[in-house]
Symmetry: C2
């Protein structure tokens, strides 16, 4: 008789996340009631936004309560169905959390086709991170051919798609990433024109060299010193899509951004955004990304942790930048 | 025989502006050539942006060179004309600098009517500061009736117009200003609903009390700690018009803004802007403001320094916030 295994929030981190912030519990597999389905999760997505959900600080979404299962995107398979729209064997993508099984009314679940792109891609390049890249770049930055697009966390699940979409728009794509391995990956595998290693200790000068015509579009995932340096190379009338601030998420004291003046003198438009606000664009973004991936016009990489018990450690690694591309947990 | 008196940039300030940064020189009154006019300046405008022009740092406009006359808006009267579009006696508004006389080809000069609003108003409420308020608020914030508009430097030439336009839009207008006198002026004279004294030492809590429904539109003139506090009370999907950063202009080290996270989680749109980029809106803004002022629907206050020699000290006072409303120098 299979058991459900669940990763719950045990207590809230102050500063960096630790394994002791999580509790792994074994539960009976729940029974789907009328109108419900039982899903066996196959893949769990780990994403930086989850750090915010662990915190009690006000954010755009309600945090996870102590003792609740951690929020997380999943791909799974329907194993029991009392719902007319789902049949046993269907693959579904949604947000069923850090656990092996879940019951659902079906809301927020989408049936996906594993013949077009692999199932796991629906959590990355053809999922929430891909749609984030698509909406932030094409809707909020709206780059024109010939412009320069700069993206931080360039080797991550979002940043890698941003750079490739920028190339498809006819732009110069420049990344910022941590370490020579990630930078080489962005350039050689993903086709970025340049990638600056922020750990090399020469960030501002390296950015200037990598962006000889300045930056017209900044897709910001990191914040902190990296963003402050990027603000220095912004061109007049440039656009900033503020997508994430991963360097701040685990900081006990937020970094003080000094280059606000650049936003004024360069008449910059900065837009903070959350992908889920744009349901009007989400499925269009996903369907275009599925097509581009199936045509091999967009590439991706996955870092896979094995088994639900590895999720906390893999998440801690993600927040430190240990992953390359999309961080997943293979559940089954 | 009258002489021209000119205030030139003697050297660049590091930190606060000092009188020794200026040189006052006496020159012959220039002669207008064919196609030129000679203007006798009557009023000089002092504005925070001039601090930027004194600096060698990259900004949106070329700085003043050492030994050049300081840049500045002026209202004057044509005393000689070799130009078909201007006749002797015409009043003109433009940017003829910190001096008593100037020759001009007429470019950038507009003939104004002293019968509708007083001449000096064309440098403030019906001039560049007024247009800045109009464009920043109505074009970039675009507030809806019932929303809250927060504006820093609320008793200044720009801020005072922002608050009154906000009221005309059906919004709650909340100001931030330095000291009880300025706050009382904003509320009692200009009709703000509330005004928070940032010098009172309780800025964040006072802002929360003054904005019980949060802030939907922030018109930012100040930057630094004041802006950081304002970021804390922003509502989801709020707009920030970034107009100025007066607290940073004289700082040797820029303030580090900590609440960037608020721009992300609240999905804020922030737009840095300079009024001169919007020539498409400038004259519409001015003509509406002239009408509103002539109908007494918008009020204003002027702080007037007497004589060209008083300009440096009056400018230093402006940067410290000594003025109430528009800071002018009466030249004649």
């Amino acid at each position: 008789m299979p058991k459900n295994i669940q990763v719950q929030l045990a207590n809230r981190p102050t500063g960096p996340v630790e394994e002791s912030n999580f509790r792994i519990v074994e539960l009976d597999v729940p029974k789907p009631a009328h109108g419900e389905i039982l899903v066996k999760n196959l893949w769990l997505s780990l994403d930086p936004y989850m750090r915010g959900r662990m915190s009690a600080a006000k954010s755009y979404a309600k945090g996870v309560e102590i003792g609740e299962v951690m929020t997380g995107g999943t791909v799974g398979q329907v194993v029991e169905s009392n719902h007319p729209k789902f049949k046993v064997g269907d693959h579904v993508v949604g947000s069923l959390g850090w656990q092996l099984y879940a019951v659902s009314h079906g809301e927020g679940l989408t049936v996906i086709d594993s013949n077009v792109v692999p199932l796991s891609a629906y959590l990355g390049v053809c999922g929430m991170p891909g749609a984030t890249a698509w909406i932030g770049l094409l809707e909020y930055c709206a780059p024109k051919a010939g412009e320069t697009v700069l993206v931080s966390a360039a080797s991550g699940a979002v940043g890698g798609v941003v750079g490739q979409l920028a190339k498809l728009q006819g732009c110069r794509a420049v990344g910022i990433a941590g370490g020579p391995k990630k930078c080489a990956y962005a350039i050689k595998e993903l086709g970025f024109d340049a990638c600056v290693d922020y750990k090399a200790g020469n960030l501002i000068d390296d950015l200037k060299a990598a962006c000889p015509n300045g930056v017209d579009n900044l897709f910001e995932n990191v914040g902190g010193e990296v963003m402050d340096a990027a603000f220095r190379v912004l061109n007049p009338f440039s656009r900033v899509a503020l997508c994430g601030l991963i360097s701040d998420y685990s900081a006990t004291e937020p970094y003080g951004t000094k280059m606000i003046r650049s936003l004024l003198v360069n008449r910059v438009r900065l837009q903070g955004f959350i992908v889920f606000d744009r349901q009007d664009l989400y499925f269009r973004a996903i369907s275009q990304l599925v097509k581009l991936v199936s045509q091999r016009k967009i590439k991706y990489h996955e870092t896979v942790a094995e088994g639900i018990h590895s999720a906390p450690k893999a998440f801690m690694g993600l927040l430190k930048g240990d992953n390359l591309g999309k961080q997943l947990v293979k559940l089954s």
